[in-house]
Symmetry: C2
Subunit: 337 residues, 2 copies
């Protein structure tokens, strides 16, 4: 039995992330991580007619880049776990249309990169599949018009609002090979402290992030000391501060190890993104563009990657419901030769 504690499991045969790929949009390619991405585009439509098709094009490009880097053909992949923010996850489904690759669709909102890595680890670590891809995407303009307003409307954004990242990330998990390895995972619970403001996702997700980090520490009898960094997906500046405060109140130290992809992917001073980046693509391109490389080159030894998701829909918000959050955590170890 590989179960640990109430919410976690270990991977005795650690799946190896042998290859990873990232695709980023214009604004992301002008930010602090510009040099990290495999593919960037100055055309936010990615050569397509609609924002939704642009997002599919990004995911296709991420998958193709991954295959190219790995030297594999599509038919050599065993399984893809993917999902996205668009209604009915069309970016993910249409990306794999007639590709002949077994596919299991996920919905974890912005936690999808972590959720897909977690399930990919189960599939590879349990011997149920080999060469599993974990993948996701988001697109600023497609998200804005679905969740809030079309861009043409020119809606004002409050200071707590975040900027959905235009990007896609993909990681290849194998049972053998060289690269960062997944050691264990903690599955999140749906946590809701009653935040109803769809322009303050960080606050809605922070309690879930805290619950999962605390559960991880308990399940593995560990602490922040065991990690070089604890990395949340897209809490942004507001959510990050709330997470620190929640931990402080319980006397749990995050030991100065906390960083958030939403505060890394854009320049918070100059890029006018208010509280920071968000969206499935936020943690995906930060992990697949920046962190996996650091782990691979030995610059980081062990991280806790915590994907955070706000489980709202425009309908639930319009019907007056609050915004539940979820957070899944994955322990990734650096390459050991």
């Amino acid at each position: 039995m590989h179960k640990r504690g109430k919410q976690s499991f270990i991977l005795p045969q650690m799946p190896v992330i042998t290859t990873w790929a990232s695709v980023a949009g214009k604004k992301e390619s002008e930010g602090p991580l510009a040099h990290c991405f495999d593919v960037t585009s100055q055309d936010t439509y990615f050569g397509q007619k609609t924002w939704e098709l642009a997002e599919q094009q990004m995911q296709k490009t991420a998958l193709e880049t991954l295959l190219q880097k790995a030297g594999l053909r599509k038919d050599q992949l065993g399984l893809v776990f993917s999902g996205d923010l668009l209604n009915q996850c069309i970016s993910s489904s249409f990306t794999l249309r007639n590709a002949g690759i077994p596919h299991l669709g996920l919905y974890g909102a912005c936690s999808t990169m972590a959720e897909s890595l977690l399930l990919g680890s189960m599939a590879v670590g349990g011997g149920f599949s080999d060469r599993v891809v974990a993948m996701t995407s988001s697109h600023f303009a497609a998200s804005e018009r679905q969740y809030r307003f079309p861009l043409d409307y020119g809606g004002q954004r409050p200071p707590t609002a975040q900027w959905t990242v235009t990007g896609s990330g993909a990681a290849l998990l194998c049972s053998a090979g060289k690269g960062p390895r997944i050691e264990g995972c903690t599955i999140g619970t749906v946590t809701d402290l009653g935040i109803p403001d769809a322009n303050n996702m960080g606050a809605a997700m922070a309690p879930a992030a805290y619950a999962t980090i605390r559960a991880h520490f308990e399940d593995f009898s560990t602490s922040a000391d065991a990690f070089d960094q604890i990395i949340t997906g897209d809490l942004g500046q507001v959510g990050k501060e709330m997470l620190l405060e929640l931990a402080r109140r319980d006397g749990i130290s995050l030991g100065g190890k906390l960083t958030d992809c939403g505060t890394m992917v854009f320049d918070m001073d100059t890029q006018d993104v208010h509280a920071g980046g968000s969206g499935c693509g936020c943690s995906a391109i930060t992990l697949c563009g920046y962190f996996l490389d650091k782990l691979h080159r030995g610059k980081l030894k062990r991280i806790l990657f915590c994907g955070t998701g706000a489980l709202l829909s425009p309908t639930s918000t319009q019907q007056g419901l609050p915004i539940p959050g979820v957070c899944h955590a994955v322990v990734i170890r650096g390459r050991e030769d």
Copy 2:
């Protein structure tokens, strides 16, 4: 390694479906399976103010009924895999709000019952979790107003249209116990033959169902002879006939074993459902209301349960894209004492 062939895996430690529960709406409780369901309601709102809240209430009731039948508390569950048709899968997320149960959200459209059983099998069979719930739901009125028109509009339905089932099903997978067991699974690929008609889902899903059944036969070197029944989720009458035709053209016999939950859940002659039932709830309540009981009582020995999903969204349809389908298959064996 438990992988078999290109798309399948076996479960050397077969997860046992020890308990199952079903909740059904008014129309479903007037159909041929009326006597099979644990809970039925003559109030399509299930005591709530909106159709969306009604769907959450159904999932909550399915989970509570499952726990009651199993004699378990919420905190004794290891993990819930669930998803639904509503945008951002709010029925599933809100059902588990502050329940403290680890949750992994899925999007597989109407294939979700099979997808959640498949992933539950990996989690239990691989030793990553115990007491895993596979769960899903759909609601006719919530689906109609999201995918097509609000009911008040009185839109006409063509003969190929299907009727979304109002219902929720849940199954508990354990590493030990008595009940039907999951022997192996086949993961579907996203298959698209170019059907663009959102009122003909059966035709859109039939090619995916055929692809998965054929892959299952190939991966396990087996045939229809090995099963008492091959059960598709919600192809309806039109899709079922197309699946038979696709198999016939390739010289693959389904040996008179094919049945479809969409043609079972309603009386096709008297209930005015046109081509049959559909929705995540269709295969969920038919499996968790009817088939698992038959397997448990030894009336069926071995079935291939094939969840079918149409991966469209109103946006993809409005943008002129066709409707891809997916189908995941699970081999379930009857109880052996």
